[in-house]
Symmetry: C2
Subunit: 155 residues, 2 copies
DNA sequence: TTACCATATGAATATCATTATCAAAAAAGG
DNA sequence: CCTTTTTTGATAATGATATTCATATGGTAA
């Protein structure tokens, strides 16, 4: 897979079109609307949230929730979007054109802070190696209470 | 919460009874069957898998799937059981009478290896602190291909 | 451009895991 | 034993995601 870090939207679009063409799939206005909404709003979306925002940003288009699910799956399969599973809060998606990172999640308000830590990545590879695994991926989520929620709780 | 590491089954049972009593709840044969099955099979179970095993181990008992869900939630709330969320594979539960650990998961065969690494834990606390968070929990899962599956793939 | 055909779409329906409801059963405490 | 409260299993409800299907649309070859 290509390295998608820090691509402009046009570059991302070219990449997407290439993937579609290679698979005999079609470039549609719905697919573009979903990709551009993700690009312009580099946050973490549930399928439902994204569906609502896409409809708001593209009122001229007819977009169904099923298409949002289908497109997110397609984008994720091809590495243009990544997801995290947040237990009860459900699955959230974000555009994958930024460097690898993990997530620090506030259990009170749901805020998500991204971070990356090379030392931990190194240790993870070491652990996998010790157990005879070839590492393909990892998931690291830290849960806590953010500064603001700490203040609110103590009131 | 008490430290539950390395308890014998009898000790765990006493702990469970104390929790129930403190909350005005009742000690039932279904609840005991579920706890003992988890204790005797220190693996990772989906609710469905555990339901089937409990019925197999205790054919004399009437046990419904709803009770398994309810009891797992109860045990988890009280720290006797811990769970991990495995994306498409669903949520899995295990007895929580062993030291804290994280999971290394084979993407091919689903095998789960447990490990613990103090250096990573330290780094996680440091990251949380840097971002103003009070850390309450974390989730770390490493995905890869285990030794055996590597062999099978190269055949 | 046009015509054709494969793919994509939205609406509706199905699915699947989990949760809630409720009448009957069982535990705890006198 | 009684009485009260909680628990139970069966079933229905829920909610997120996936599938179906008739129609619409994109890509392409002439």
């Amino acid at each position: 897979m290509k390295n998608l870090e820090m691509l402009t939207y046009d570059e991302l679009l070219v990449e997407f079109k290439n993937i579609l063409k290679a698979d005999g799939l079609k470039f549609t206005s719905q697919r573009e609307a979903i990709l551009s909404t993700l690009y312009e709003n580099p946050q973490h979306f549930t399928s439902e949230n994204l569906y609502m925002l896409v409809k708001q940003k593209h009122p001229e288009l007819s977009v169904g929730i099923a298409t949002v699910y289908r497109t997110l799956a397609l984008l994720e399969e091809n590495g243009l979007v990544s997801s995290i599973s947040l237990g009860i809060q459900g699955k959230k998606f974000e555009i994958a054109n930024k460097p690898h990172h993990d997530h620090l999640i506030c259990e009170s308000c749901g805020k998500i802070v991204e971070f990356e830590n090379e030392k931990i990545e190194d240790l993870q590879h070491q652990i996998a190696k010790e157990n005879g695994f070839v590492l393909t991926d990892h998931l690291m989520q830290l849960y806590g209470i953010c500064t603001e929620c700490q203040k609110n709780q103590s009131k």
